[in-house]
């Protein structure tokens, strides 16, 4: 996950993060049925476990972010799932970031929602290739991470000019992640389309 730990961002940023997250959470939780809890939880757990896996990308090792994947499979309910995953990450597995759970959820949740709309729109297009899911899954997966990194970069820069160099490093470090994530999401969405189409958000009411 492209998360930021405590104590870095300016307080007004992470406070706004909480406000935005509270608003979107309220909306999405209302859309969610209590019957969806077990399924969403298990998928959240799976997203969490998958995000712990390292991929070797050139000289560095990257973690999957999976926000595009969450959007494509869960639709707008990706937002509460990402929130829960971040709560788990902060409190149970101590990757840092308690006050920043709000803004981290924005950073990953909003791209997840956008990637969901991109995927949905893409699947409606008639471009005459057989495996549209793979293509648009990859696009959604890549764009989601790119957006998440972009949001984070903007927040770091807004916090202070002295973070410019750090921001550059963070952005550069995530370029391989964007690629890995695009391939990953494409493959996995293509897999679902053949094996279990009801797992894609567009095939169900979620």
């Amino acid at each position: 996950m492209v998360h930021i730990s405590d104590g870095i961002l300016a307080p007004w940023l992470w406070v706004s993060g909480w406000v935005i997250t509270a608003a979107i959470l309220t909306y999405t939780l209302n859309k969610m049925k209590i019957d969806d809890v077990p399924k969403l939880s298990v998928i959240t757990a799976a997203v969490f476990v998958a995000s712990l896996i390292h991929f070797q990308a050139g000289p560095t090792s990257v973690h999957l972010v999976l926000c595009g994947f969450a959007g494509v499979t869960l639709g707008i309910l990706a937002y509460p799932c990402i929130f829960i995953a971040l709560v788990m990450q902060a409190f149970l597995f101590l990757h840092g970031g308690v006050t920043t759970i709000g803004i981290n959820t924005v950073n990953m949740g909003v791209p997840a929602l956008i990637s969901f709309f991109i995927f949905k729109a893409g699947m409606k297009l008639n471009i005459g290739i057989s495996k549209k899911e793979i293509l648009f899954g990859a696009i959604a997966g890549g764009i989601a991470v790119a957006l998440a990194v972009l949001l984070l970069a903007v927040e770091l820069l807004v916090t202070g000019e002295e973070l410019t160099e750090v921001t550059t490093v963070v952005v550069l470090a995530h370029i391989p992640v964007i690629l890995v994530e695009a391939i990953f999401t494409g493959v996995i969405v293509g897999f679902f389309a053949t094996v279990k189409p009801e797992m894609l958000s567009i095939k169900k009411r979620l």
């Binding site: 730990s5 405590d6 104590g7 870095i8 307080p11 992470w14 959470l25 939780l29 969610m32 209590i34 019957d35 809890v37 077990p38 399924k39 969403l40 939880s41 298990v42 998928i43 959240t44 757990a45 799976a46 969490f48 476990v49 998958a50 712990l52 896996i53 991929f55 070797q56 990308a57 050139g58 499979t73 509460p80 799932c81 829960i84 995953a85 788990m88 902060a90 409190f91 149970l92 597995f93 101590l94 990757h95 840092g96 308690v98 006050t99 002295e162 973070l163 410019t164 160099e165 750090v166 490093v169 890995v180 391939i183 990953f184 493959v187 996995i188 679902f192 094996v195 279990k196 797992m199």
Partner: protein, 262 residues
């Protein structure tokens, strides 16, 4: 693959005995208060306070150190990169072709150190907060604090299934390895692992379906109620006053400091 935060919940200490509802709220308030600080002395004082809390909780420092390394790795770039600049003003220390590396000054080092200490303190405080009660009790405390029912239930289930699934993934990876699969930096590795993860997702989705059936068979109609009841004693309030008191104290100190400054 994953070890549990509540490993030392079975110990006995004043923090273990503290009512989990007040404990969660108080320490959370403290973390937020510390993150608002931008004064190195107060940040260091807060870290000492956190260390005292950890000491009282009797959770071994070795256990905590193992976890702190993740956060440390995350904030390390700030410590290394932040004091230097290539575009701003500063003391020139090196030239790399057309790029000039400048040192920003001692304030930037202080700022970087502060970021690192704040990040570490926040993680350190989670140990007395979550690590001193069994997870299920903490989740019940959250329920008792009237967090939205759907969120509490998602937390409980997600927590439960993280262990089931990480075990499942480990088994799957073992079966890949036993058939000669090696991780490398190539497309084949990514697509193979992607498919393995996809299978894990499909399996977990089907399991979720079966769990839901099992719940329905046991009369589930949307609300999980549990039997645990919390009682508050004077000691609970004492702990609360101490921890919340410190959280307020550092904010007052900041406020007083700005008054002095003007």
């Amino acid at each position: 693959m994953i070890s549990e935060i509540d490993t030392y919940a079975g110990l006995s200490s004043p923090i273990h005995r503290w009512d989990p509802r007040l404990k969660v709220i108080s320490i959370l308030a403290l973390i937020f208060s510390i993150m608002l600080l931008y004064d190195l002395k107060l940040v260091i004082a807060s870290m000492l306070f956190a260390i005292i809390l950890v000491y009282i909780s009797r959770i071994p420092f070795s256990f905590i150190a193992g976890r702190l390394k993740w956060v440390f790795l995350f904030v390390l770039p700030f410590l290394i990169i932040l004091p230097f600049t290539v575009i701003g003003e500063g003391v020139v220390i090196a030239h790399f072709g057309s790029i000039t590396l400048n040192f920003r000054g001692i304030e930037s080092v202080e700022f970087a150190v502060m970021i690192v200490i704040k990040a570490l303190t926040s993680v350190m405080l989670i140990f007395p907060m979550i690590g001193t009660s069994r997870m299920d009790i903490t989740i019940k405390a959250l329920e008792d604090l009237h967090l939205p029912n759907k969120l509490v239930q998602m937390l409980a289930f997600t927590y439960r299934y993280i262990f089931v699934l990480s075990n499942e993934f480990m088994l799957m990876e073992r079966s890949l390895t036993s058939r000669g699969f090696k991780r490398g930096s190539n497309l084949y590795t990514i697509t193979t692992l992607s498919k393995a993860i996809a299978t894990l997702f499909v399996m977990s989705y089907e399991q979720a379906e079966r769990v839901f059936y099992a719940m329905r068979s046991k009369g589930y109609s949307g609300k999980v109620t549990t039997m645990h009841e919390f009682t508050l004693r004077p000691q609970d309030w004492l702990c609360t006053v101490v921890v919340c008191g410190f959280a307020i104290f550092i904010q007052v100190a900041v406020w007083y400091g700005t008054l002095e400054g003007t």
